[in-house]
């Protein structure tokens, strides 16, 4: 659609964007506030960041959260890619309806239900709660998001490339590794990123499935946020925002370079 943009459209976009970014901007600005009173501006300062450095509990939680995130995102990416292949490529197998129901339900299912159900499972089988139970829980939920992302890429995939490889005698597994995987790789990478951030972000499911010694960052933040606004929380939120922003920048930088590479390749082929 390439009609000229009207005043109404421009302003509705602008309002939408302002609504999305203003609260975050305010939070970041107030993390540099020198005053302990969160509503009074006392000048710029890095005081609360310095105080965070000495907060051992916060550091421990950050480490637990990071480990859960890395592990569950990687497991979810493998499982989610397999189930995307199953949904798009395996045709109609017995139990496909149940399978797709199990894949799509966690996307919308309220988190309190998933958290409770998983906890009761871990109690029923006598599994000690802690790091591993959170990791399993996050893997289960995030693999469904991975499935949707990878599935979208597989559906627009040009199958003739695989067929050409196989007609030329390439065995299926090798075709998958040498043709399919490199082509869907960007989708798999962004699915991993999505799974990772969902895991870092999760409070409800982690609260249900956690145990002693495995307090994730959102759980610790939540218990402090309930007590009200504190400049230290603003500071830690700002750090988390910066980490997320860096991740996104790195991701889009990679995408841009890939795009340039592709253009370069197209130019070269045109010359030939």
């Amino acid at each position: 659609m390439r009609t000229r943009i009207s005043w109404f459209q421009a302003s509705s976009i602008a309002w939408g964007i302002a609504f999305l970014y203003l609260p975050i901007a305010i939070l970041v600005i107030y993390s540099f506030n020198a005053s302990r009173l969160v509503t009074v501006w006392g000048g710029w300062s890095l005081r609360w960041y310095a105080e965070l450095l000495h907060d051992e509990a916060m550091r421990d939680s950050a480490w637990v959260t990071l480990r859960v995130g890395l592990l569950s995102a990687s497991a979810a990416t493998v499982l989610g890619t397999l189930s995307a292949l199953a949904l798009v490529r395996s045709g109609r197998f017995r139990g496909r309806l149940v399978f797709s129901a199990m894949v799509y339900a966690p996307l919308v299912m309220p988190e309190v239900i998933i958290g409770l159900a998983l906890l009761l499972l871990f109690v029923a089988v006598g599994f000690d709660r802690g790091f591993w139970t959170i990791t399993i829980a996050h893997t289960t939920v995030t693999m469904c998001f991975v499935t949707v992302v990878v599935q979208a890429r597989l559906m627009t995939f040009d199958r003739s490339l695989e067929e050409a490889a196989m007609d030329l005698g390439c065995p299926p597994l090798k075709t998958f590794l040498l043709v399919t995987l490199p082509l869907v790789w960007p989708a798999i990478a962004s699915a991993w990123m999505l799974a990772f951030t969902l895991s870092l972000d999760d409070l409800v499911i982690a609260s249900f499935t956690t145990g002693p010694g495995a307090t994730t960052l959102p759980i610790r933040l939540y218990s402090q946020v309930r007590l009200g606004v504190k400049p230290e929380i603003n500071a830690i939120c700002t750090i988390l925002l910066a980490v997320a922003a860096l991740g996104i920048l790195a991701g889009s930088g990679l995408a841009a370079r890939r795009e340039r590479g592709r253009e370069e390749a197209a130019r070269l082929t045109a010359k030939l």
């Binding site: 390439r2 509705s12 939408g16 939070l27 199990m102 309220p110 409070l203």
Partner: protein, 321 residues
């Protein structure tokens, strides 16, 4: 070509339609079975356990419910176990208006905020879809970006603004819109603001993806035939964007009904939603059977929208093949 693994080739070509899983090669079976078994173990089985515990009684033991199923007791033990199950917890849910009110409040909040999201999200999605092509990707990125930051942080950001001496009240007093600070936090308004803020991308993205795919020739045809722009929107654009509207509404409505964090942090005692009730039953009262019954009833309320959502997702999948 080596024909030893004919089935693998079929899977790669999507030619295995309708065949039973058992007749396929190892590779094809692994692709389906590994995620299948994982989801069955960690998604399906847990729900059966929730159903079972919702029929149990609260006890002072660890785990805090009875009866426990003892496989060693054999058939007699199983019969005794079945006999000890009861619908008691559901009777409690029906008898106490506290639960009924929480369910109704959740449905009400979800319905109103989903309507607000649609009204706010549609113009944004429409604006992006009609923007120049080269700007579209950047605008979509701008809408998704906050979604990559923590949910908790975004809700917390609003506490900063809405608290008694927060920025909103400072602005209001400075502009003489009111002579004393107003109460924002712990009200329904705060809950609606928090929900609309947090779910905004979930509404905009499905709307954008249908609006963007729409054939512009249709609008030109309508305009050529003398249809005024507002009417074109009403009789062409809106009906054609129905799949996006349905997806966006369901993607927001279903999780909002069970929302916990937003009403807990921004809402007051008048906005107790069912997610909070479940949380309190479980963590504060340690009443696992009642918490399970609350979860099962919530699931029963949401089963119709969830099935519609899945049906739509599957149809998208079939269409894309």
């Amino acid at each position: 070509m080596t024909l030893a693994n004919r089935d693998d080739v079929d899977v790669m070509r999507g030619e295995t339609a309708g065949r039973p899983l058992a007749g396929r090669s190892l590779g094809a079976r692994v692709i389906v079975l590994v995620p299948y078994l994982w989801l069955a173990a960690f998604f399906l089985v847990p729900f059966l356990i929730v159903v079972k515990i919702s029929l149990s009684q609260i006890t002072m033991t660890q785990p805090p419910y009875a009866p426990l199923f003892d496989a060693a007791a054999g058939w007699e033990g199983f019969k005794a176990f079945l006999a000890a199950l009861s619908l008691n917890n559901y009777e409690i849910l029906a008898a106490d208006t506290l639960y009924l009110e929480a369910y109704l409040k959740s449905l009400e909040v979800a319905a109103i905020s989903t309507a607000m999201l649609l009204v706010l999200g549609y113009p944004t999605a429409y604006g992006i879809a009609r923007a120049p092509r080269r700007l579209q990707a950047a605008l979509v990125m701008l809408v998704i970006l906050p979604f990559w930051t923590s949910f908790l942080i975004r809700v917390y950001a609003w506490i900063n603004i809405l608290q008694h001496d927060g920025l909103l009240n400072q602005v209001i007093v400075a502009l003489h819109l009111a002579d004393h600070p107003l109460t924002w936090l712990s009200t329904d308004t705060a809950v609606f603001i928090g929900i609309v803020y947090s779910y905004f991308p979930f509404m905009v993205l499905p709307l954008y993806s249908t609006l963007e795919r729409m054939d512009t020739a249709l609008f030109e045809a309508a305009a050529d035939l003398g249809c005024p722009p507002w009417k074109t929107f009403w009789v062409v654009t809106l009906p054609l964007s129905r799949p996006g509207i349905v997806a966006g509404v369901l993607l927001c409505f279903i999780p909002i009904v069970g929302e916990f964090v937003i009403p807990d942090l921004l809402g007051g005692s008048s906005t107790v939603m069912i997610g909070q009730t479940l949380w309190t039953e479980f963590f504060a009262n340690r009443d696992w059977p009642t918490a399970s019954a609350v979860a099962i009833v919530l699931l029963a309320l949401l089963v119709v929208p969830i099935v519609i959502y899945q049906h739509q997702q599957l149809r998208e999948l079939e269409r894309g093949r």
